[in-house]
């Protein structure tokens, strides 16, 4: 008698659980239209990033990824070296004109639907139209969380081997966030840590694949992963801040890295064009100071540079989606800013 009462209760609990699950599943399917929103897409080792001996992390070589960022589809294809770029050529002909673009996620193409819509490839399209007799190839060497240190290493260990004609450098936001550490080191070991070879990929990647057929399981695990920050590369490869009263402490390291990039590019026979950095709220004192420091540095050393911070309007939501990343209009403005400079300076005809 007592045994059957227990069984009945147990059956009731199971039934309640199944009912709750079915109701949740139906609700999720009815209410959350964007099936990709809660896709846990960016765990550090889940296909997008990989460990690298000379970088804190690198793009996964030859990856073909479809991401869903804030409801938008983003298609990323990386080449054999893990860059969101064309495959690197092994030879160079007389008509070839190779451009390398270094930067962070603004160059990589945060929330950019395809490689072709990143500003480096928009620039390529503009230059190819203007100089049809040349084979213009623009290679996007930007990477999320990239700084002058990652770009310097990429230029030295990969870029120069491509025999570039022109190097474009667009850095600011990430370098600024690397400044002002009490324990600042010139090798950025105060700021970055290595991406571990094995990273927990989060709940969504841990449950059996068949369970993800349920939208409830899929979205719940994805939401929990996002809440826990499992998807956040920066939590994995960046060290905690140790604030120095001087928020610009270490700025000479940024300038020294830019100088070294200049020396390496020129030593390899390439021109190099630098830039100020477009912050949405460009009049913030810290941002304004940073950009003015760059302007003074470029001028003092006689370097080529484009003042993107002045060319692109501030506080314009049709240009920036956040403090630094661009809309398509913003990326087109970036490409146009560099294109106009290259054409005005006659850099292609000179070679």
């Amino acid at each position: 008698m007592r045994h059957s009462r227990l069984s009945a209760r147990f059956a009731l609990v199971i039934f309640g659980f199944i009912l709750a699950f079915v109701v949740t599943e139906v609700a999720v399917r009815l209410l959350i239209f964007d099936s990709g929103y809660y896709t846990s897409y960016e765990p550090a080792d889940a296909g997008r990033w990989t460990a690298h001996p000379f970088l804190p992390f690198a793009g996964q070589p030859s990856a073909d990824l479809t991401l869903f960022t804030a409801g938008k589809v983003e298609h990323i294809r990386t080449n054999a070296y893990g860059f969101r770029a064309h495959e690197f050529p092994t030879t160079k002909g007389p008509q070839d004109y190779f451009v390398l673009c270094f930067g962070g996620s603004t160059t990589y193409g945060y929330r950019t639907a395809s490689n072709a819509e990143t500003w480096p490839e928009r620039l390529e399209q503009m230059l190819a139209a203007r100089y049809p007799e040349r084979n213009v190839r623009v290679f996007n060497m930007g990477m999320d969380l990239g700084t002058t240190a990652t770009s310097l290493v990429n230029l030295m260990t990969v870029g120069v081997h491509l025999h570039p004609d022109l190097v474009i450098v667009y850095h600011g936001f990430n370098d600024l966030s690397s400044l002002g550490y009490r324990n600042h080191r010139t090798d950025y070991s105060h700021y970055y840590a290595d991406l571990p070879s094995e990273v927990w990929r989060g709940l969504q990647a841990s449950v059996p694949q068949w369970m993800l057929a349920s939208r409830a399981v899929h979205d719940l695990t994805g939401a929990l992963d996002m809440w826990m920050g499992v998807n956040d590369l920066s939590r994995t490869v960046m060290r905690p801040r140790d604030d120095d009263p001087d928020r610009m402490k270490g700025i000479e390291t940024v300038l020294r890295n830019l100088r070294t990039m200049h020396d390496v590019a020129r030593g390899a026979g390439a021109e190099i064009v630098f830039s100020t950095f477009q912050f949405t709220s460009g009049d913030e004192p810290l941002y304004a100071t940073f950009n003015q420091t760059l302007r003074d540095f470029f001028e003092k050393n006689g370097y080529r540079w484009v003042d993107q911070a002045r060319l692109i309007p501030d506080y314009d939501s049709s240009v920036n989606v956040d403090e630094c990343h661009f809309t398509q209009k913003g990326r087109d403005l970036m490409a146009a800013g560099f294109y106009n400079y290259i054409a005005a300076q006659n850099l292609l005809s000179e070679r």
């Binding site: 460990a51 690298h52 001996p53 000379f54 970088l55 804190p56 690198a58 070296y81 240190a149 310097l152 290493v153 990429n154 030295m156 260990t157 990969v158 120069v160 081997h161 080191r185 010139t186 090798d187 950025y188 070991s189 700021y191 970055y192 840590a193 290595d194 571990p196 070879s197 490869v237 390291t253 020294r256 890295n257 100088r259 070294t260 200049h262 020396d263 390496v264 020129r266 030593g267 390899a268």
Partner: protein, 364 residues
């Protein structure tokens, strides 16, 4: 008829056996303790404790680094035993993990700073102290010759470092020392990556990141603090860790993927691009650069001819150590590439002679 078994009959036998075994154990225990005490006292009189400390990869010698596959542990003092020559090595690292003087924060007009890039031959395999590495021998030679200058030679050599490793250390650390002169001595450690069929310009086919968490740390480093003060415990764990190869960083960071598909010209050209980059960095920061051929014990380094052509074709300064140092002389080298003290002195002397002949200090 046997006597009845009584408690009284059994007791003496049991007591006798028990006494014997306890006594034996006591004697044995006393003997072990006495032996240990004697060994401890003997060791304390006979050896330096630093000779017994293991500089294991996971223990004291190496750390992970975001821009390098591995780096020297900052501020470490490392005692090593080099088996081939039965040499005791004591290396003192600076705050950046190099076996070098601390880097100066300032530079004065009389300062002349030299950075020496290289692998273990520059680091000083079998060099008993930092002072016996060739960069610091060179420093003394130059200081004697130019007493009015403050000559400092900073040893950037690192075990298994090659041209890509040195590009990164020069650009992210070296240029901040504001060197007047950069000396580059690379060879052996570039051969394997340059001739690999899986070659990548960033050498990611060759190196992997050092992961301290996944690396065995050896016995000695796991000894409780109190026991680690005992010389005998240090000796035993030193021998076992040494036998297990705990010091061998190569096991953990060097990957050898696939075969070898190469010609000497192709492989050498891959390295020469890196040397050109080193030249660009150094010259861009106002330093002179001296390159070198690589001295092999059997004279068979495959890239030396290409190196010479490259240096001369580009008008780069270089010292032909390969021709200046005799091959096949065990008084100079104790294996295929590493130097004895006499060999390190010859290296330093050759660079010194060149610097003086080129008047590189007088020029500045």
């Amino acid at each position: 008829m046997s006597a009845p078994i009584t408690r009284g009959n059994l007791q003496p036998t049991k007591a006798h056996g028990s006494l014997l075994s306890r006594g034996r154990i006591l004697v044995a225990g006393f003997g072990v303790v006495l032996g240990l005490v004697v060994a401890e006292i003997g060791l304390r009189f006979a050896v330096n404790p630093s000779d017994l400390r293991v500089g294991g990869v996971g223990g004291a010698r190496w750390v992970a680094h975001p821009f390098l596959p591995f780096a020297g542990r900052p501020g470490a003092e490392i005692a090593l035993h080099v088996k081939q020559v039965d040499a005791r090595v004591l290396a003192k690292n600076n705050a950046y993990g190099f076996r070098a003087h601390e880097f100066p924060e300032e530079k004065h007009p009389e300062d002349f700073f030299i950075i020496c890039l290289g692998g273990s031959t520059t680091w000083g395999a079998a060099a008993a102290s930092n002072a016996e590495t060739w960069p610091e021998i060179l420093e003394r030679l130059l200081q004697q010759r130019y007493p009015h200058r403050n000559v400092k030679a900073f040893n950037f050599g690192t075990d298994f470092a090659n041209s890509v490793y040195s590009i990164v250390t020069l650009s992210l650390v070296g240029v901040y020392v504001r060197p007047d002169l950069v000396i580059v001595y690379h060879g052996w450690n570039d051969i394997a990556p340059a001739k690999a069929s899986s070659y990548r310009t960033d050498y990611s086919h060759h190196f992997a990141d050092f992961d301290p968490a996944a690396t065995p740390r050896g016995l000695q480093v796991n000894l409780p603090g109190g026991i680690r003060t005992l010389y005998t415990a240090l000796l035993v764990t030193f021998v076992i860790d040494d036998w297990m190869g705990v010091n061998d960083i190569a096991t953990y960071v060097i990957e050898d993927r696939g075969g070898r598909s190469w010609s000497p010209d192709t492989a050498a050209a891959r390295v020469l691009e890196n040397l050109r980059t080193i030249h660009s960095i150094a010259r861009g920061h106002g330093a002179q650069v001296i390159f070198s051929t690589f001295q092999f014990f059997d004279g068979a380094f495959p890239f030396n001819d290409q190196y010479r052509d490259f240096f001369e074709g580009n008008g780069f300064l270089y010292v032909d150590q390969d021709r200046l140092i005799a091959d096949g002389d065990p008084a100079l080298q104790f294996d295929i590439g590493h130097f004895t003290k006499k060999g390190r002195e010859a290296m330093a002397q050759n660079f010194f002679d060149y610097i003086v002949a080129q008047n590189l200090l007088g020029e500045r």
